[in-house]
Structure formats: structure tokens, C-alpha cells
Amino acid sequence: MIDYQILFPFLIFLPAFLGFIGCVIPKITFPLSILMLLGYATSSLNYIGRDIAYQFTLVGDGGIQFSIDSYSFPLIFGSCITLLIVFGLFFKKFTHYYYQICLVLLTALFISFTTVDLVSMFISLELLGFSAFLLIADRNDRKSLFNAFQYLIGGGLAMLIYLIGVVQAFTFTGSFLLEDLVKAPETALCLIVAGLLTKSGVFLCGLWVPNIYSHANSQSSAVLAGCVTCAGIAPIARMSQILNPISDSMIVIGVISAVIAAIYAVFERDSGRALGWSSVSQLGIAILSPTYACSYAMQHGICKALLFSTLYSDKVDGNSDSEVINSTQNMQSNHLVTKEFLRLVVFVVASLSIMGFPFLAGFITKNWIKYDIPYEAKIIYTTAALLTSTVYARLIFDRIKDFSRQPYARLILNLKYASRNISDLFASSQNYILILSVFGLILASTAAPELFTFTAVQSAIVSAILGAILFVSVVGIQADEFVKPVTRTLDLVGAPFLVAALLLANLIYLKI
């Protein structure tokens, strides 16, 4: 009989242990960490959707309480898959200690997904902040260093606000448990939620998201979008499950975030920034429903990781010797043509998944959320979905245009090279990952066959088509004057205060 009391803490701290070992012996640790991630992903996939909860207390009586339940499994699966995708696609470009940082990050994520103790949450979020800081600064130029600085000072202040909320709750409840927050005063709740929202990057607190995603390395952006922002989702979902005023306020914040960030994304010209704004909007949708928040965040995280990994063609951000790579013959001999085409396909499929296109993973999670929220929020939710379709229609259009401009683009459609292209498909391990991810996204849609009603499929397709039409109609608008990037540190740092104050006003006076 295995003692779960020992097994689960061991599993939680295994990635950090491997990461620190990896600093000493990097050669062996990388394949080991891949195996470990695969193990976590398969075992957590088994438990998604089942109503299993296991609670245990670390260090005996009065220690740290953990609860591994239906909130944790989807997020654990999502972050493991994200890291696998990044490890598989970018392992040649990793700088020193990159994957070690990712493994430490994974432990911080596990703690924040499973703990129900407010102070452990604080510590795990701070550890997460440090790891994310190192990932952002990985590009090592002046702008990314300054971005990392802004992230750290904003995140540090948000966590201090959170800590003040925690200590106020402690004076009323006498414990640091999440479930005891029912007895806490409104001000404490507001401060705690404002801190968590900043970490998860929902609108107004999440103004740092587009700046950082657009400028960091592709692999760092993929990890940040896939895992780091999910960390705040689990505690928010847990809180809004037990606290009615919080869940009502979350609907307001989520709806505002979903619509405004999507509007920003529509008028944004730079693809990276548009993806960042869309991430803010999607996380706003995720916090609408406490039951399905984690599944939605998982699906969004995996798709965003794929999108950021395939946003640019490989040679733009990689090889410096452009002359060699540009010659078509060389591309052909290096199997690069099929790889580029596969990257394009993955980009399109992941975009369609976030749009909620039928027979893809996003369709399922979108419909779960749609049937779970109140009617008033549903109208605005549909608007946000339409705007999201517009954003991704533009992104797909830009990506295909970018691809077709390349000299090797005609090779892919030429029948003469067809057999060779197909054999190239299985030439490199990265292709396998790309193909597997496409099939995974399609297979995930079979998880809930009862959702495939005629009206649901119809509305999803119509929303995609309407999005494309809307894109054609707004493409000519010169939006540079009224959509300016928010880069001032004051705006990024001050946002949590504003959100805390608004939440307090809502909880005490407005009572939406």
C-alpha cells in the first residue's frame, strides 16, 4: 500500500529537485524530465472530469493543507503539455539553465494548483514570479530586462497587497485556510483577489501581458502564456465557488476583461501583442464560471503555447546565416519546407480551436462555459467570442500571407514534390510533435459528444464566418492613433490598487 501522504508531496517537489540536479548534471536530466512530464500528463489525464478529491496536511497538525481535486488535474495536465511542447520544439535554442528554470516553475505551479493555504499560495506565487522573471529576461537585451523589471516590481507589489489582505483575514478568522475566508471582511477579500488577478493577468491588472509576450523569446512567451497565467485561476475558482459575492464580481470583471481586451486585440497591428491582448480576454472568459475555469484555462494555455511556438517561421528567430537558408534547394534538402508548412497548419488549427470552431478542443470548453453562466453575461460573452474570431481571422490571414511570400511556398503545392514532401513529414522529431498536437486538439473534442447539437455547431460556424467578415470590414481602419501600447510603469504598478478599490465599492455599495 502506497502512503499518499508521502507520495503526493514527493510528486509535487520532484520537478524542482530534478531542476536543481540539472544544474549539476544537465546531460542526463533532460531526458529524465521529459519522461517525468509525460508521466504527469498521462496520470493527470486519467483523472480529468472525475470527481476525485484527496486532501492531506503537510508537516502534521496545523501544517500546510493541500487538496488535489478536480480544479488541479486539468491545470496540471495543461502545464505539463505546454512544457513538453516547448521542450520538444525549442530544445536546440535553449540557453543555459533554461529548462531547469522551467522545472522549478513547474513545482511552483503544482503548489499553487493544489494548496488551499493562503500563505503557501503567496510563496508559490512569488517563486512563480521569480521563475517568470528569469524567463522574460532570457532574451537579455535592454528592453526585455526592463520588461522583466516591470513584471517583478508590479508582481511584488501585488503580492504585498495580497499579503495585507491575508493578514486582515487572519485577524477575523484565526487561520490561513482558503475555506475560512467566508468569515473574512470585504476589504480582505478585495485585496486578496486583486493580488491574484494581477498574477493571472486579467484586464486592468494584466496590462503587463501584451508588452511581455510580444518582446520575449518565442519559447518564453509560450511558457508564460501556457502555464504562468494559469496559476491564479485555480485559487480564484476555488474562492468563487465558496464565496457568492466574489463569484458575482468575477462575472463583472471577466466580462469587462473579455470585451475590452478583445477590442484592443482587434485594433492591434503587431501579431505578438494581439496574441497577448487575446490572452487577457480569454482569461477573463475563464474566470466567469468557477466550475469550468480550469478546463478552459488548460485548453487556452495549450493552444496559446502552440500559437506562440509557431507564430514566426523557424528561420526568422533562429538561424543567422540567411543566405544559406534562403536558397530553395537548401530548404528542400533540409526538410524545412514540410516543417514550415506543418507549423502553418498547427498555427491555423490552434487559432481555430481558440475561436471555438467545431470538432476542436476549444468548442467543448467554450460551450461548457456558455451553458454555465447567467443569461445577462451570455450576451456579452457571445460578443467577446465574435471579437475573438475577428482577431484570429486576422492572425491566420497574416500568417498565411507571410508564408506564401516565402520562395519555397510553391514547392508545397507542387505535385511533383508531393511524395518527397510526404516522406519529409517524418524526417524530424519536431514534426511528430506538431502532428501529434493537431491530432490531440481534434481528439479532445470527442470528450463530450453530447455538446455537438445542431444549434451549437451552427452558431460556432456562423460566429467564425461573422468574425472573418468583421475582419474584412475593420482591416482598413487606421487604429494607431487610439490604440497605444501601455508601457508606463506607473500604469502597470497602480492597476491592482484601482481594481481593489473598485471591487470594494462593488462588494459594499453596488452589490452587482
Binding site: L160, I164, V167, F176, R488
Partner: protein, 130 residues
């Protein structure tokens, strides 16, 4: 016998606001937090925001310590001569981690400030945010 607290001057005001000595001790810390936030939102250079963040950090930690001391101010160590009123050891133990984390944040931010200072030695936001 009930007296109207309005007729008792300053003492009455304290009663009216429901201010116990435990709450009164927190007022300097709240003032510190406000000062820190003001400094953070009005700083023109990176170093000043670092200092302001540290002020808020210290104030938060002091709040934890003061709240732990509300039960009693004696050291929670069991000795042969027993004390009567211990302070609560739980928040104090927990805040140790927060102190370390605050220190680590400051160290990382200082390292970044060093790197940024090579290009713009004044470390002004105006120069860096271009």
C-alpha cells in the same frame, strides 16, 4: 449605566470608532504603507521605486508581528519559569518566509538596476520607457 460617548472628548471618540489599543498600534504601519505606495506611484527613477517597495514590505511584516503580539508580548519559548501571556508564534513563523522573499526580490531588482544602469546611469523611467 450607559454614557453617551460623544460627551467624553477624545476618549469617547476612540470608543465611537471602536479603536482598541491593538488597532491603534497598527496606525503607524498603515501610514507607512500609504507612504510607500505614494512613493512607488510617484517615483521618477528605478532606485526610488525599489526603496518604496521595501518600505511597503517592511510595513506588511510589522503588521504581521504586531498582530501576533496582540495575545501577549512574551516570547513563546517554554522554559522552567513559565510566562502567562505568550505571543502567537504562528504568524511570526510564517512571516519569516515573507522576509526572505522580500529580500530576494530586492536583490533581483538591484541586479536588474545594475544592468540597466550601464546604458542609462540616471535610471530614469523617462529614458528607459522609450
Amino acid at each position: 449605566m450607559t454614557t453617551n460617548p460623544r460627551h467624553l472628548g477624545f476618549k469617547g471618540w476612540l470608543l465611537l470608532m471602536d479603536l482598541t489599543p491593538e488597532k491603534l498600534r497598527l496606525i503607524p504601519m498603515v501610514v507607512l504603507i500609504v507612504i510607500g505606495c505614494f512613493g512607488l506611484l510617484n517615483s521618477k527613477t528605478i532606485l526610488r521605486s525599489l526603496l518604496s517597495l521595501d518600505v511597503i514590505d517592511t510595513a506588511t511584516i510589522s503588521i504581521f508581528v504586531l498582530i501576533a503580539a496582540s495575545a501577549g508580548s512574551q516570547t513563546p519559548i517554554e522554559t522552567t519559569s513559565r510566562y502567562s501571556s505568550y505571543s502567537d508564534p504562528y504568524p511570526q513563523a510564517i512571516i519569516l518566509t515573507a522576509i526572505v522573499i522580500g529580500f530576494a526580490t530586492q536583490a533581483l531588482l538591484c541586479a536588474i538596476a545594475l544592468r540597466l544602469g550601464r546604458r542609462s546611469p540616471m535610471l530614469r523611467y523617462r529614458d528607459l520607457e522609450k
